[in-house]
Subunit: 409 residues, 2 copies
């Protein structure tokens, strides 16, 4: 029941990236649950990889291993399984994650530290290493550039739809590609330990510049979505730059870099919004647009206070233009000296709150009409500055409680 | 459907406090919705009053007026209505709140600034001043010391039960009384703009000491409960000290003051817990008990991260001992250098997590058994210090969504 889901348009192959999926029988018996991504390096210039990981202090074993390896070694392979998060598994979990990397290294003759492991699924159960190792030969014999859609499907857990985005654009008079996939599962749901995204481009960027571009793009996309405020133990986003297009970006002040960053940000934002549209139990896609702030931090504090409020979210589920809940969520965001009488709230193009009370022009009929839309922007003007930030979220329904109450049964 | 609700035992009158309730037809047509509380002052020593109010920047008109008056003037009357919060009503709301104070002043011949107004109910609708003024003569002619139970009922909104606590104990060889009432309505629910509590004692305390005692007691009680993390626009707690018992406490270092503060804290804690037990849709009463912290702040950060997590709360609703969600909520509480392998989690007396993974002794049968209880303590030991804090909350059910989605319809 995703809200206006992103159609899975053509996912263009990225030269230098091969993918393969297979069923390892981890939790699924039919659907593929194992994905291998290989980066093929040019002789003249090695490809680079960048990654960002969950900030949760309780992070899964594969996150620990992947974070170590990507910081120090060239990346040749990613190994991703769904169905088991390998989180809350202590020292044994680390041993298990490293064992799967070792298995790829032995079969492919590479350094085990050139493999990054990722897991998504149930917390607290031992990773079935032998099943994964047994399934590897079939996957490794089937690595193909065209397998992005199958890859998007293999990483799904309770996602109702695969999520992928592909952009092609011109850099230095040459067509280049950015293609990415993501899985959410509804949400930031620690035991379905959640968000993964893998993105690749055929542009070449040095590793530090690639890392910088990924951090900036993630900050404006994956770090601007929320369903329930919970942060997963397994969240990760990886970006490859193979360099196979021949286009090279060396410096952040290069004008072509700005184009690349903009395109990368758009891809990340579409993937992030696709996760929210497929949020657990979501019936509405909500943009919280906060302007008139004195700085970025206070715009975000207000946006998240509104986006996390169960009272605001249940009101949207009920199609109730309950502006008192929005105003109260703004009021508790912790801004010093907030003059509530300067705050303005609009829902789409309907003026709701002016000067701390309901707008003179507002009618219940207007409120009812605007709440019928499946895409609603809450415009909040704080009236105390020029900064503006957006956050994306969804409503809070009976199905959210059902999905999360019944998940393990 | 409150969880093991507090029985409304005898609410002892407090000498010097008279109360009256009546129906003003604000939202209710049958049940009383207006409460007047009068403090009668001794000639020899005036009674004192202290108050704490919501920290929400968007606070209701009566909060603005009551905060002003209690800071500067002697308190003679409280005027409380349910059914309308007089919040989000702008400048007109202030005029309305002051008009009701003026009406009492005229009828009783007192200073209008000696009246504190309080409102609870729907946000954003004009306060029906004329209805309140019309109902006042009947209330004012009926002021009685024995009306505490009627008062507890008159301030209810969607509370399923009235909430009151009364303690009698000995100070300076004399029996003294603390009696209090509260209303929650389910919860920290800005549009049912929520928590009110009125407490009185016949002990005499100077105003600054009374304020200090109230702040300490509230910090350990009302400020330790949460249902959904939302903070109301109308929250207020008032404490009267009439002095009619003849017992006088002058200084904080008086040993009898410690006894008084302990009794006051117990009364506040019982009232606060009664609010959680009657939380919207609550089926379980949950104590989050965090020990082994380096300081109070980090214990509370962890406790609230767990107590606010929709994923933890839906798991408790489902009676699912989903320790991964608890561990993940601890991990995202923002503690620096948290060693997750030192964290221990127990549910009541069942060891769940040791060294970052599931406890060796743990069985699913143990987990299922402990989750059948309606009162569950989540013990979290951070293993990095000696501080300990407790927070009280409830689970998150289908009924929470129903109550909050359907409220205005």
């Amino acid at each position: 029941m995703a809200v206006n889901p992103l159609p899975l348009n053509t996912l263009h192959p990225v030269a230098g990236i091969h993918l393969a999926t297979t069923n390892a029988g981890i939790k699924q018996t039919v659907r593929d649950d194992l994905l291998v991504i290989q980066m093929q390096h040019l002789a003249a210039r090695e490809g680079t990889a960048a990654a960002v990981f969950t900030r949760n202090a309780f992070c899964a074993a594969p996150v620990v291993v992947a974070r170590e390896n990507v910081a120090q070694y060239r990346v040749d392979y990613l190994l991703i399984n769904s169905g088991n998060a390998n989180a809350g598994t202590g020292e044994q979990g680390l041993v298990a994650a490293r064992a799967t990397c070792q298995a790829i290294a032995e079969q492919q003759g590479c350094d085990p530290r050139s493999v990054l492991p990722f897991s998504t699924g149930v917390i607290g159960q031992p990773l079935p290493v032998s099943k994964i190792v047994a399934a590897l030969p079939k996957a490794l014999s089937n690595l193909q550039p065209a397998n992005w859609e199958a890859a998007a499907k293999a990483i799904m857990t309770t996602d109702t739809l695969p999520k992928g985005v592909s952009h092609q654009f011109s850099l230095q008079n040459q067509l280049v590609t950015i293609t990415g996939i993501a899985k959410g599962a509804g949400m930031i749901r620690p035991d379905m330990a959640t968000m993964l995204s893998f993105i690749a481009t055929d542009v070449a960027l040095p590793k530090n510049l690639l890392q910088q571009s990924l951090q900036q793009a993630v900050e404006a996309s994956f770090n601007r979505i929320t369903i329930d405020g919970d942060t997963s133990t397994n969240d990760a986003c990886v970006l490859f730059a193979t360099g196979h297009s021949g286009v090279v970006l060396e410096h952040a002040d290069d004008s072509d870099y700005a184009i690349f960053l903009d395109q990368l940000t758009q891809v990340c934002r579409k993937l992030a919004q696709a996760i929210v549209r497929d949020g657990e139990g979501a019936t509405k896609f909500i943009t919280v647009d906060v302007s008139g702030g004195a700085n970025e931090a206070e715009c975000l504090a207000v946006a998240y206070s509104v986006a996390h409020s169960p009272l605001v979210k249940t009101a949207f589920f009920a199609s109730d233009a309950n502006w008192g809940r929005i105003l109260a969520a703004i009021g508790r965001a912790g801004l010093s000296d907030l003059a509530i009488e300067r705050v303005q709230i609009d829902l789409n193009d309907v003026a709701i709150v002016r000067q701390g009370g309901v707008a003179a022009s507002y009618t219940e009929a207007q409120g009812q009409a605007v709440m019928q839309h499946s895409e609603i922007t809450i415009h909040i003007d704080l009236g105390r500055g020029t900064h503006r930030e957006q956050v994306w979220t969804c409503d809070f329904s009976h199905d959210y409680v059902s999905i999360n109450a019944d998940y393990r049964t």
